[in-house]
């Protein structure tokens, strides 16, 4: 268990900047999720921590010790690759025992530890098999066992569930979190799946194009996105995004609709009067009514599409030509909505996030 610090870490591959000036502290025993779209530099960050890649610039510390120049062998990290990277020519037993063998562990110790971790992960019946004789879920466990058997200081998991089918994924997700809590091992979990991140993380680190967008606990990330990227990357369906005009008041204005701000938020919005800003709001915060209500933000809209999803439905509303907004409605309520029906949607002022049009930063964070 260690505390990990990254200081201005940059990694370039030729002209591609895979990781851009990342500074981050990972607290001891925490479950951190690196969340970002494919190609955002998540794997590269993990490989930098493992020592597979050396940073182009910047430093990495484990418990205050500079490990930037240390080879992987000296870092004692457990790494589960997205492809699992099991040794195809070794049995499950030999795969798990390999890290111990390299340390020159005596046969009995090796035997005991392999059995222990195999039982812990319910793969003790598979020890004689070869990787190609295992299902995806079993391979994943073997890879995890191999990472855990050396009692690493930090566990790095690169999209460990992405090759499994949906049901198994949800099951193993819960189990992985449980294992982490039992072992209290500092863990970094990489995923592009925002639901996985919200479900598992103590802290989420949102990454895009090699740059950290926001660090925070799941609530913070979900309810107070720091920028448009975070707001639209997280949630299913993701936040609605609109470009609206700021008019004297200060008020947001879109067509006939107008919403005015007061207090601290008004002060932050005032400099933007006369310009356009970006706003986001979550689909589940959108309320419907058949008549215009005076309170909050009220916008006339037309039902464009209804997608029932079992417990609830996703309703797509048209606010004007080419302007669509998604809303989540309970299934019963959504059944009454006919396509083309005129409705009014309302939003609490607090659920509308406003962003600087250039930097796309949430004004609440300015």
């Amino acid at each position: 268990m260690v505390e990990i610090k990254l200081q201005d870490v940059t990694k370039k591959f030729g002209k591609v900047i895979a990781v851009n000036n990342v500074t981050l502290t990972i607290e001891e025993g925490g479950f951190y999720v690196f969340l970002g779209p494919s190609g955002s530099g998540k794997s590269t960050l993990l490989y930098l921590l493992a020592g597979i890649y050396k940073p182009t610039s910047g430093k990495i510390f484990f418990d205050g010790e500079d490990v930037t120049e240390k080879p992987p062998a000296e870092r004692n990290v457990g790494l589960v690759f997205q492809s699992y990277a099991l040794y195809p020519h070794m049995t499950v037993y030999d795969n798990i025992a390999y890290p111990l063998k390299l340390r020159g562990a005596p046969k009995e110790v090796m035997d005991r530890k392999v059995k222990e971790v195999a039982e812990f992960l319910h793969i003790d019946k598979l020890l004689e098999r070869y990787p190609h004789q295992l299902s995806g879920g079993q391979q994943q466990r073997v890879a995890l066992a191999r990472a855990l058997v050396k009692e690493p200081k930090v566990l790095l998991l690169d999209e460990p569930l992405s090759n499994l089918d949906a049901l198994l994924r949800i099951y193993i997700r819960a189990e992985l979190k449980r294992i982490q809590q039992d072992l209290k091992i500092t863990t970094i979990y990489v995923t592009h799946d925002q639901a996985e991140a919200l479900a598992m993380a103590d802290k989420i680190v949102v990454i895009n194009k090699g740059v950290i967008q926001q660090i925070g606990d799941p609530d913070e990330i979900y309810y107070n996105p720091k920028n448009v990227f975070v707001a639209t990357f997280i949630g299913n369906p993701p936040s609605n995004t609109l470009r609206v005009k700021v008019v004297e008041g200060p008020c947001l204005s879109l067509g006939e609709w107008r919403t005015c701000f007061s207090g601290a938020r008004a002060e932050k919005l005032r400099p933007y009067v006369g310009r356009e800003v970006t706003v986001t709001f979550r689909p589940e915060d959108v309320k419907f009514s058949e008549v215009a209500e005076g309170e909050g933000v009220t916008i006339p809209a037309e039902v464009y599409e209804v997608e029932p999803l079992g417990r609830e439905s996703i309703v797509t509303l048209s606010l004007g030509p080419e302007i669509f907004v998604k809303a989540v409605q309970p299934l019963q309520a959504s059944k009454k909505l006919k396509l083309g029906k005129k409705v009014y949607i309302s939003l609490l002022e607090s659920s509308v996030k406003v962003y600087d049009p250039e930097t796309e930063t949430n004004l609440d964070y300015l």
Partner: protein, 303 residues
């Protein structure tokens, strides 16, 4: 609708395979028959050429005579048993030498071509193909010139070993371009992650190479080793050109028996024995290695 009974896809594939197999058999039948005649005749008192069985009996005499260096059942021998031993030894020397040089060099350079990015890598890979496409015979003039110049700078006592060494290196050079391609292909199939995984598990670069990479490309090494062994074993032209007439291999020995009308005086089943011995690696390879290589290419590297 459920299809009860045999799977449609399987039936179709089975039939296609059967047709293919029949075609291959038909096409290769003449070759197989000729080889069969050769092998059977080496154990008979005369050449077996068809259904005519009268007076035919089987014996090991041809083999004994062959190893004694005799060419007929009666006349005094031209070659001694020691000659034959030397020739077989030379054949092994050349074959093992070519195999060793090719395997070592193509494994190392295959790894570099697969794993290292350097300037002109793909150009060099294409150049290798070009090299492979050049017929070895065309090259031999230049290679011979070089041979004569280098040989003359050595004391005459070293000429024979040098000629064998030269055959090995020159013949290996012909095999290396293609072998590098083969090895590169096998290294390419080893995922980076598997190597990295071993590094993270605490292995040194050397350990990764020994414990992980080598076992995974073993089928490739076997392939290259076997094919280059056979290339050396079977080579005629390089051995003929570079080895002095006193130093033969099985290939040049058989060639000399067949040359200049000597066919009419030699006892053919003895030549058949020599031919069978010459074929032996191919037969052994066919029996054992085929299964191994097939397996490795199927189960190969998965997950």
């Amino acid at each position: 609708m459920m299809v009860v009974g045999t799977d449609v896809e399987t039936v179709r594939r089975g039939r296609r395979t059967a047709v293919l197999l029949a075609a291959i058999l038909a096409a290769s039948a003449p070759i197989i028959i000729v080889y069969a005649i050769l092998v059977i005749s080496s154990f008979a008192n005369r050449m077996v050429t068809g259904g005519y069985m009268e007076g035919l009996h089987f014996t090991l005499e041809n083999w004994i005579l062959f190893f004694q260096g005799k060419l007929t059942t009666s006349a005094a021998s031209v070659y001694t048993a020691w000659d034959i031993t030397r020739y077989i030894g030379n054949t092994f020397l050349v074959a093992l030498g070519v195999s060793g040089v090719v395997t070592a060099l193509s494994t190392l350079s295959g790894y570099s071509f697969s794993r290292m990015k350097f300037r002109g890598r793909s150009a060099l890979m294409q150049f290798l193909i070009l090299l492979h496409a050049f017929p070895g015979v065309a090259l031999i003039i230049a290679v011979y010139t070089l041979y004569v110049y280098t040989k003359l700078s050595l004391p005459p006592s070293l000429w024979v070993p040098y000629s064998i060494f030269y055959v090995v290196v020159a013949r290996a050079a012909l095999e290396i371009p293609m072998s590098i391609w083969v090895m590169k292909g096998f290294f390419d199939k080893v995922p980076w992650e598997v190597e990295w995984s071993a590094l993270v598990d605490g292995a040194s670069r050397i350990r990764v190479w020994r414990d992980i990479v080598m076992p995974l490309v073993k089928p490739g090494i076997a392939t290259v080793a076997i094919f280059s062994f056979m290339a050396g074993w079977e080579d005629l032209i390089y051995v003929l050109v570079f080895l002095p007439p006193t130093q033969k291999t099985l290939a040049t020995y058989i060639a000399s028996l067949l040359a200049g009308g000597s066919l009419e005086v030699v006892h053919l089943p003895i030549v058949a024995a020599a031919g069978t011995l010459y074929l032996l690696p191919t037969i052994l390879f066919f029996l054992f290695a085929r299964n191994y290589m097939l397996q490795s290419s199927l189960s190969g590297i998965k997950g």
